[in-house]
């Protein structure tokens, strides 16, 4: 495999909580606490997790829409973690973003051609007619008719709007597209169309995707590798096949078991967890998951488990793995 498009290492983001007239700093929320991953050309890495686990923050950090507190982000080999906006702008053409809500992410006062044309204007010195030609081609690539160019966002349906957002992201031939829950605002029937479009475009343009989602069904459809996040940390990362067939972390197993299955009569052994995600303001010591984990030991309450490779490409952060509780998960009911 060639050099990774994106390499993120020990990424951290703390948000300060202020209160009162003098905006005294009360606490730091560790939204992202040391996340590492890399994405190769043409590959899709999915980050999954419950709401509030920091997955969207990771997307914003990679886009440098938020300032990282620590760690490094390397895009095509260049460290962009602390680049100033002026230098950063040159790198922005290599990484583009698709947002969750296609109703909010498109300026309602601009025509489709101006929306898709904006990144082209920023990075390429084309004549007006050349640019129009490019825009028409891109719109066609995402399955919109070229007469869509003169229309305003409100004239499109939700799925068409997200196609427009994809067209904008594609416009300057990026190597990486960060997609933050790109289909969760869409109807299920439209979700499949948009996902298939993304897969088609990936194959055609050798795109890498950083795909943020909470929907395991979507992830199973589009992902190559999957990283599971819980309270700001990655707890398990592996190929899609390994995650779904052999989840090693109890949280991963519980997530998969919680996903609905089309046949309600199907008998399944399910690992169910109770309670809510603890407050990220005051996360549990040791393994963040120990308050909800049915197998938690004393060690889990005291010591933070490190992400370790247990088989090629399969990393998990769980003490049970190391302590030889290999059988626990498979026998769990």
């Amino acid at each position: 495999m060639n050099a990774p498009v994106l390499e993120v290492s020990k990424l951290q983001k703390n948000f300060a909580v202020h209160r009162g007239l003098l905006r005294r700093e009360l606490a730091q929320v560790k939204a992202v606490a040391g996340v590492s991953f890399s994405i190769a050309r043409g590959e899709t890495l999915c980050i999954v997790g419950e709401s509030g686990c920091g997955k969207s923050t990771v997307a914003k950090l990679v886009m440098r829409l938020a300032e990282p507190t620590g760690g490094t982000i390397r895009l095509n080999g260049t460290d962009i973690t602390h680049l100033h906006e002026r230098e950063l702008r040159r790198h922005r053409r290599h990484v583009q973003m698709i947002f969750q809500d296609p109703y909010a992410s498109l300026n309602p006062k601009l025509r489709a051609a101006d929306i898709v044309g904006e990144p082209i204007e920023n990075f390429e010195d084309l004549s007006a007619t050349e640019r129009q030609k490019r825009i028409a081609t891109i719109l066609q690539n995402v399955g919109l008719r070229s007469d869509a160019m003169r229309r305003y966002p409100f004239e499109f349906s939700g799925g068409q709007r997200q196609r427009l957002a994809i067209a904008r992201a594609l416009a300057v031939n990026p190597s990486l597209i960060v997609a933050d829950e790109p289909v969760s605002a869409l109807d299920v029937s439209v979700q499949a169309q948009v996902l298939n479009l993304m897969v088609d475009l990936q194959q055609e343009f050798k795109l890498a995707y950083l795909f943020i989602s909470h929907d395991l069904g979507v992830v199973e459809h589009i992902g190559h590798r999957i990283a599971v996040m819980y309270l700001g940390r990655v707890v398990e990362t592996a190929s899609k096949k390994a995650i779904f067939s052999e989840p090693l972390h109890p949280y991963t197993k519980a997530l998969i078991d919680a996903a609905p299955v089309p046949d309600p009569r199907q008998k399944r052994e399910r690992l169910l967890i109770e309670g809510d995600v603890p407050s990220p303001l005051n996360p549990p010591l040791g393994c963040h998951f120990h308050t909800r984990c049915p197998f938690a030991t004393q060690r889990c309450q005291a010591e933070v488990p490190q992400l370790r490779e247990v088989s090629p490409g399969h990393h998990v952060a769980c003490h049970l793995r190391e302590d030889g509780y290999r059988g626990v998960l498979s026998s769990a009911t």
Partner: protein, 291 residues
């Protein structure tokens, strides 16, 4: 490649059946524009409509309105009709100039303050300080320091309006900059200037237009007040404030010398306010939807 989708079904937002419906839906806008149009045309065409507003005729002093002098004459025998119509030129010019000047400056400062959070605190404290200065005192000080004249009056009235425009624009910028499409523009590599011009400025246009009408009304009143106090436009130039000021002693003997400029001032300010109210209801999408 994905199939090409049909993107028809363009629904026009709202089409008016005609002028009649527009009048029925927006009576305040129509009334305001009509009044302003009449007075505006009269002001522009003043030299054709009236005689010389400066011509003194001592034998015709303080004549009551008649066929020759529609609005009567003043204490120098000057035609009040000619002076009132000519006065509209000054009033409207001052109102428009103050609005344009304070909006342009206020818009730039407001966009900068709202978009660049680092300078926001400094700029806004400075604006607070400006708002704390009584506007009449500021005008008196400015006129005392300089030779006076229309230009100084316009500046003196504009200065206190600027912080109000800045506050308005800044609040629009603060709410707009958090929208996802602004973030999307940053992500697609647009420069700050382009983001402000293309994605943020358009949201500020509607509230600023509405604010402009209120500034015009307030500026015309301020000009009249300054002229009345004798620190505005030089007294020989016919403005409504000057006319009222010069003849306050003749209120009982020749009320027409004060009534006509006063009535015109009232009507124009009312018309501008009607227009502003109508535009606000029309341009604010939350209000417009209910109508």
């Amino acid at each position: 490649m994905a199939a090409v989708l049909n993107t028809t079904a363009a629904v026009p937002l709202r089409v008016h059946a005609g002028l009649g419906e527009f009048v029925l839906r927006n009576p305040t806008i129509v009334l305001g524009v009509a009044l302003l149009a009449i007075i505006g045309i009269a002001a522009v065409a003043a030299p054709l409509l009236t005689g010389d507003p400066m011509a003194i005729s001592p034998s015709d002093r303080l004549l009551s309105p008649d066929a020759e002098h529609w609005f009567g004459t003043d204490s120098f025998g000057r035609d009040v009709f000619a002076r009132t119509i000519q006065g509209a030129r000054i009033s409207l010019a001052v109102g428009l100039s103050v609005a344009v000047l304070s909006i342009i400056i206020g818009l730039v400062i407001g966009l900068v303050a709202g978009y660049y959070r680092r300078v926001d605190g400094i700029i806004m404290r400075f604006m607070d300080a400006m708002m704390a200065i009584p506007s009449i005192l500021l005008a008196i000080a400015l006129v005392a320091l300089t030779k006076g004249g229309i230009g100084i009056v316009i500046i003196a009235i504009s200065l206190p309006e600027i912080p109000r425009v800045v506050r308005l624009v800044r609040s629009v910028v603060l709410s707009t900059r958090e929208l996802a499409f602004v973030e999307a523009a940053v992500a697609s590599g647009s420069r700050d200037f382009k983001i402000i011009r293309r994605h943020i400025l358009p949201s500020a246009v509607a509230p600023v237009i509405v604010q402009a009408t209120f500034i015009i009304a307030a500026a015309m009143l301020s000009e009249a007040a300054l002229s009345f106090l004798g620190i505005g436009v030089p007294p020989e130039i016919p403005t409504w404030g000057n006319m009222i000021s010069a003849h306050k002693l003749y209120l009982a003997r020749a009320p027409w010398t004060i009534f006509f400029p006063g009535a015109f001032l009232t009507v124009v300010v009312l018309a501008v306010n009607l227009l502003g109210d109508g535009l606000r209801d029309r341009l604010d999408p939350r209000l417009a939807r209910r109508m």
